[in-house]
Assembly symmetry: D2
């Protein structure tokens, strides 16, 4: 049925499965990770075929994951590339892409008392194949804050402060080695202060001090993310966005920018 000619001859860019959750195990830099990412896998469909074979997409995912269970190696993007390669054996396409979106937990130390905390970041990676040419799009979402420099100036050192989320996206060639951890650092260093899951009183004082010593608009945070990423990475298209959940308003404020290196 899928291979029949369709009534309407129109090629489609992206056909596939989305919101598929399964277990993916990786072994990256000799550390084992278990993820339950949300997965989207799509390919293009030419105008002469009615449909794609959806079950082959899911099989490509499952077979690679099983294989990874045994060999337990590689990063999320290596698993994704192997899924696209497996899919190529099962189903024709010119363009295919796969995205995995998950949480990454990283150990940190609090600034003064040095307690170990586990901090959780949103990460995602898309690997695309265009006629055999592989590229990737890496994404991290990091929680931090903004501290209004305008109010601080007008209110004799007092100001309003709020939670903010910084997002950094990097589009680059598949072989350009970029770690999520380095991308997360670019965003965390852009905020007035990092945030922590545990803060003892001495740590909390330090965070409040850093916030007030380093007030930043949402625009400042986005520019700092762009600047940090420009200094750290090469041969990439960089996008940054910050969303500030204003404590003096019901709405959020945002700032977005892009650059290339």
């Amino acid at each position: 049925m899928q291979d029949k000619k369709p009534e309407i001859r129109e090629s489609l860019e992206r056909v596939g499965v989305t919101r598929l959750k399964t277990i993916v195990m990786t072994n990256w830099k000799n550390r084992k990770y278990n993820f339950v990412p949300e997965i989207e896998l799509t390919l293009d469909l030419d105008r002469e075929r009615k449909g794609i074979h959806m079950s082959r997409l899911v099989e490509s995912i499952t077979e690679c994951i099983e294989k990874e269970v045994e060999i337990r190696r590689g990063s999320l993007e290596e698993v994704e590339k192997s899924i696209l390669e497996k899919l190529k054996e099962k189903h024709p396409f010119n363009h295919a892409e796969i995205t995995m979106k998950t949480d990454l937990v990283v150990p940190r130390k609090t600034p003064i008392t040095g307690k170990t905390t586990m901090e959780t970041y949103g990460v995602a990676v898309k690997v695309s194949s265009d006629n055999g040419n592989y590229t990737k799009l890496l994404n991290v979402e990091v929680v931090g804050n903004t501290v209004c420099p305008h109010a601080m100036n007008k209110c004799e050192g007092r100001t309003h402060i709020q939670r903010a989320t910084g997002i950094l996206k990097i589009e680059t060639g598949y072989d350009n080695k970029i770690d999520f951890e380095d991308m997360i650092d670019c965003v965390e260093d852009a905020f007035p202060s990092r945030v922590y899951t545990i803060l003892k009183t001495e740590d909390e004082k330090q965070v409040v001090k850093e916030m007030h010593d380093n007030p930043k608009f949402v625009e400042d945070v986005t520019r700092s993310i762009l600047n940090n990423a420009k200094n750290r990475f090469k041969n990439a298209r960089i996008r940054a966005k910050t969303i500030s959940e204003e404590s003096i308003h019901r709405h959020d404020v945002i700032a977005e920018g892009t650059c290339e290196v």
Copy 2:
């Protein structure tokens, strides 16, 4: 089919429709309102019947809404009661309940420059009928902030501040007149400062001043909501909850309490 005996004889408390969105027009205190609420309408099902007649639930909603279009009067809870009365004519039940959840936009003045702003609140009302006895549950969700008194004490007047959401629920007899606007006031007055959609510099200075003059934990805000509601309403069960989106942490903090008047 619905009236057949089911294989498994088990009564069900709540059967019906949910996430139904439609237009509801009211005329409350001589002001016309158009809402597109999300509606849930359920009734109980006894153990001897296989199913309810879902289309009669939707007809009860539609017929009352059409009628309201003509007569354009009443509050959301009056519309809800008329839907339950209409449903009673169409379908047997012992217990039925209907909830409408929507946005309420209220004009305000900014604190110093007196600019008019439109502020939006989440509101919901459930009317329940138990063997002909009507009760209601009113709910408001209001955005405000928390300002940490502990950090302020330890950091010489500096502190961390964040957006917070205050929720007030009131369960009472159907005939107990309670306005959403009064419930919203109970919550807004409980925060260190109200928030506004527009703030000119002089207004913003005032908000920052109020925040610092009036630091409050999430626990303090919840207690203030409870206290404000106790002083304002009668013959009611009151529930309050505050969620603070910490600017120094990735997670939120909460405080919940209840009381009766």
Copy 3:
């Protein structure tokens, strides 16, 4: 403070407010509409300025909405254009854009019994100004269904059926008149059957018959949306996407395509 030179000289594409909810009244084709849309308004920021003046963005919205309250005319996109024009008087920019996202309720008749039902659609419109040149992006989201032709073929007329959402986006010049209602028709006509809030038994039989007479993959629905839109509109870039919430899987399947007319 906002007009100072920033430490990092990097221009930003989109700076502004988001998730702002307020009341917007329109009078379109002599029918009055009250919406409470979610609004995003952004402008670009050049590399030599530290920040934008956020309150002027909100003032531009508020002043136009107040004016609309009095004159009560125009469509959502006319309100949006007037907000961008107002903003131009208050704040310099090269590029600015405003999006309003809301629900649109449209009366329909059921297919056999002809009962009136109110059907609710997700709609959004973005108006962009680039150095004074206005364009728009219209978006509708419509609930329908998919009916698997492959299973129907293999299972002697039986198949699996599921809810699906069709999305149509049209990017075109500001002056190109396109009604949400026509866009909604393009999507609803692409499904195996339309869906209705009320269905009496005879209506339900008709819907089930149409589903089985007209089985469609998610790919078929997307192609039909594209084809319907190509036949209806001119001078536009068209994007279609269908998301099918499979009843035989935990995950969804999707199909996306684009074309130009």
Copy 4:
């Protein structure tokens, strides 16, 4: 500051942290699991204290998780109980409760071709301590489907089908051993057919056959969940809910019931 007397003397039932995400490793029935659950931990606050010590809640979580990393044993509920015991050493309370909400991935075989698939379920467990008495609330969310018996009867074997979600909650004593896997079975067996991540054509035919051989209203599914749970578990309060995403309507239909064993 937290130990001061508050201005408003009102006890609070639940004060604590929510939406905290961190890594939790368990070793249950000799299988290792890595979860990144969303955690809520709250305790009660008496009327004479201004606030709780939030950082001690987070420390209790972190210290138990670290310990579990070493000893790698126990189930999620055992980890939760150890956190409440640790908290008791650090902070006074009468009532405390902790909830972890996560995904559980379980291997399955497809019905005809016997392919291995990984199926993902939403699970949560809350452990409560009331003056030293421990109870728990287990929760599973399972995707399946409903198949309308009414339409099938009226349309000569044809009907409408849709995705549905079944939810089973069990409240019982802490020592009552109940496996998530058994709860999931109670829900999956209640649907017209199970759903699978991969289905080859022969499997899909079997699923479509089971759907049509076994049509069920949302009410039927909820009753079957209740019945399955009554037959499987003891000394428990059982709650079941099914949400059906109708393929002929924009809205969902629901059925909820409870029973005790």
